[in-house]
Symmetry: C2
Subunit: 109 residues, 2 copies
């Protein structure tokens, strides 16, 4: 029952697209990650994913549109929906998803 300071945890992150688990509850995990550049197109068969922007902004690309998510905003990507995050400049993001979610979903990276 210790608290977690997101700023401290963010300062310890090294590489981009490499989420770190900072909390667990029920069957879910809280992760933080740095986004910069483009990730990979993928989808999750069984997991909805939440992305909350802590600093900066990124584009969540879908096959038919793109949503820019900025600091203080979140987006939920439903299971089965193909997506690919992209950030022109470094963004810092909190993720919430079921434990065991593979970051590339149905795609190897």
């Amino acid at each position: 029952m210790d608290k977690v300071n997101l700023g401290q945890e963010l300062s310890r992150l090294d590489s981009c697209w490499d989420p770190k688990v900072v909390g667990e509850l029920n069957d879910h995990q809280v992760k933080i990650a740095k986004f910069e550049g483009e990730f990979v197109w993928h989808r999750h068969e069984r997991e909805d994913e939440l992305f909350l922007v802590l600093e900066g902004a990124f584009d969540m690309q879908f096959r038919d549109r793109c949503v820019t998510v900025s600091q203080g905003e979140f987006i939920i990507v439903p299971r089965g929906v193909e997506h690919c995050p992209r950030a022109d400049r470094e963004a810092r993001v909190l993720l919430f998803e079921p434990a065991g979610t593979v970051k590339t979903g149905d795609r190897e990276r």
Copy 2:
């Protein structure tokens, strides 16, 4: 797949201790709430709860200690653990918990 702006949602909150659902994923809900004053001692038999402070600070009281959680910090209260949030000044908090979680747990309010 629309994004949610937490600032906008927070500006629409009226009363304290009255969480509003702003997102749903898997079997969980994202809620926001204003905390001011003292809530009620309670516990949840089956649900872990996450509290992330968006603005201000609050004290999460446990029977044996108290943890002050400030902006940019979160705390996870495990199932079964009695707790009572308290805020001397208004705090704005994001909650993450299973859908159907009763805010007062085992206690009427």
